[in-house]
Symmetry: C2
Subunit: 286 residues, 2 copies
């Protein structure tokens, strides 16, 4: 293994949804055995295991939590539901802080039932960021706004492009609100290279908006509901190495998280899946 390979592998993080078949202890053990140093966690399994216990588990395994998924869902118009969403997001910030990660991934939310008002929904996302940004920053956590593929605009996320995410993030200090660059959501966009450069800012870490860099490949046909059809690295249409080079040119040197929702991976042995992820990562990203 060359120094370059070792350096890149040090940056690999496994998002736990990629190996959903694993419990948290299996995840911690499996990553440690595979030499993977980072994990991206999800709130539900962490809460089920216990936040403090999960933090201890990953720390004892020598792992770094690179992100917590996810807060967000800010687009309700009903005041009680909005208040509940904000309260839940404060809890998510607290959980991120307890896990020792600086990055809370936010999925903005879709249109409320019956609504066709995309601009209004997007403004409610901005309002929520304004409320949560200071709370998060005080706890050492940055809100990482994730643009999701436009096919999710109605029911999941009204922020569909990196340009839109940056338009929102730039209303706030870089220490409060960043963005997620996820290849699955952004690969089709002919402006994404330019927008990654914009997200990098001056190239100094404190000014950069790139809070997380996530990988999955795009494969077809899409499954019903379009949620669980992400491809293993190298199986699809995305030029993953191009993305890595672009975020690095923009100054990003942080974790590279592999997040693949795919029932075919979940049906396999987790150790095999992780070994394949590592191989594919080195072959298609390195």
């Amino acid at each position: 293994m060359s120094d370059g390979t070792a350096g890149l592998l040090d940056r690999l993080s496994l998002n736990q949804e990629t190996v959903r078949q694993w419990s948290l202890p299996e995840l911690a053990d499996g990553c440690a055995r595979a030499g993977v140093r980072g994990v991206g966690l999800w709130r539900a399994p962490v809460q089920e295991y216990g936040v403090a216990a999960a933090a201890r588990l990953v720390r004892d395994a020598g792992l770094r939590v690179t992100s917590l998924c996810r807060g967000g869902f800010f687009t309700a118009t009903d005041p009680a539901r909005r208040a509940a969403a904000l309260e839940d997001n404060r809890a998510a910030v607290d959980e991120a802080a307890a896990l020792g990660t600086t990055t809370l991934v936010l999925v903005s939310g879709g249109l409320p039932p019956g609504s066709r008002d995309l601009p209004g929904a997007r403004e409610r996302v901005a309002d929520a960021l304004a409320e949560l940004g200071p709370y998060a920053a005080e706890r050492g956590v940055r809100l990482a706004l994730e643009p999701l593929h436009p096919m999710y605009a109605a029911d999941r996320c009204v922020v569909s492009t990196l340009a839109q995410a940056l338009d929102l993030a730039e209303r706030f200090p870089a220490g409060q609100v960043g963005v997620v660059v996820d290849t699955y959501h952004l690969w089709w966009d002919d402006t994404v290279g330019t927008q990654i450069g914009r997200a990098g800012g001056t190239g100094e870490e404190a000014a950069s908006r790139i809070a997380a860099f996530q990988l999955a490949d795009w494969v077809t046909p899409l499954p019903e509901g379009a949620l669980l059809g992400r491809g293993q690295l190298g199986d699809g249409a995305v030029d993953l190495r191009w993305f890595r080079e672009r975020v690095e040119t923009a100054g990003y040197r942080g974790p590279i998280e592999v997040e693949i929702f795919n029932p075919a991976l979940w049906a396999r042995d987790g150790t095999d899946v992780l070994a394949e992820v590592v191989d594919r990562f080195l072959a298609h990203v390195g």
Copy 2:
């Protein structure tokens, strides 16, 4: 019925895929009885019926053919396949001319198998437009480049936004290459209003790039393959009236074509479907 309603209804065109259960004679008869003056046709059923016979059929029913779907699929790298695609597109231009429509809708094509080179595929679309534009214009047909939803970028159309389509179209005279504004593909894009204005140009018809305006609504969940999940007007997330107002502000006064691929509509009586389309059109577009 007010004059405004009658005026708008005169612009309604029924794309035949919306009532796929109808034969061409049923389509001509059904539209004439419903007072619908325009139809959008597809090459396969027209070829099956005979191009000249189809042209006579719709003319005798007092109908105008507002577009022919579709040419395109320009992204192959193999020289023989490229040549075959161009030859097939010349035939499509000839068919459009024979049907008396000025508008040939083009779906650009996806990535060739195994390729990850989106910019290259997009350049091959430009090359094909350069070859076909003069041929089409000589026959009174304009190439109407259609940006398709980004979820089709890999396997169907590497042109995903109106901005991209205009970047390509503007390399050529407005009389040779225009664009399609289809609500289903573009509704999520926060820049689409600006781009519709750009497409309208000076507002004079000769300078406008808007070659066709098509309607379908966005409903979820997406079906497997994501192709046949378009919604009846008013059933989904799209602000259809906003789109009409934007294309009209941009100077467009042409046909408004309803194109919904949805097996639930195909399973019903075509006359009922068309009556519902007319009702929904007046309620949600007018």
